[in-house]
């Protein structure tokens, strides 16, 4: 099993700064020399941007009134 297959499952948490210190160092060192994993990390960053930029829909008017009518 190559090093990339050990690193890839860690990339998501690496992006969030949630890996253990040792894992984080290992990922960082690997990224310096691996184009493929750097590319995958950039894709994950792109995905997170897309998700964050999705429209935040608003409820229809009258949500409170509908709730209020069902409270009693």
């Amino acid at each position: 099993m190559g090093i990339c297959s050990q690193i890839r499952p860690l990339l998501s948490a690496y992006l969030d700064g949630q890996n253990e210190a040792q894992e984080s160092r290992m990922v960082k060192e690997h990224l310096e020399s691996c184009d493929k994993c750097r590319e995958e990390l950039a894709q994950l960053q792109g995905l997170c941007r897309l998700l964050l930029n999705l429209e935040k829909p608003r409820p229809a008017c009258g949500l409170w009134e509908s709730i209020k009518a069902r409270l009693h």
């Binding site: 499952p9 969030d16 998700l51 429209e55 608003r58």
Partner: protein, 192 residues
Amino acid sequence: MDADIELVKQTLQGNEAGFEKLVYTYQDKVYTLCYRYSGNEEDANDLAQEAFIKAYRSLGSFKGNSRFSTWLYRVTTNVCLDEMRRKKRLIQTQSLDQPVTGADGEMSRIVADESQSVDVLYEAQEQADYIQSLLNELKPEHRMVLLLKDIMELSYDEISKVLNIPSGTIKSRLSRARDLLRRKLLDRELLP
């Protein structure tokens, strides 16, 4: 946060206006979570209503040990997961190749052809719809973690409290969900 706790107290003392303020404060976030979880407005409205009603009825169990928003998201995620499980059970009883009975009798079931919309996927709305369809395909548990982190912007600590799962589970669910979406978006050339 203190303002929320004060509103909770007012509500528990019988002042409904306190709960009204909580609804207005959190309705957009609760609705967004419900919408992105269910994928449509009708279900999102029903789920958001149900979440606030459940919250109102169980407000006495909120002890103030966490932020009110964390507690409310926990109620909301439970409503979403329970309701969509129930719907899934109903849907699973219908096979895709089974004929549908409509007002004019039996008709063939029309299934959307994914390839039809490839040319226009780059349009913003089409892209958003496609991403939503991918979210809908995720396992409910994976979808919920992804929504809480990448759309609602909750921290791992908050997600852990909302879903009552350890950080390791959040990491693995997020990693799988993101990887699946990444691959699908790459297939459609929607990622660099």
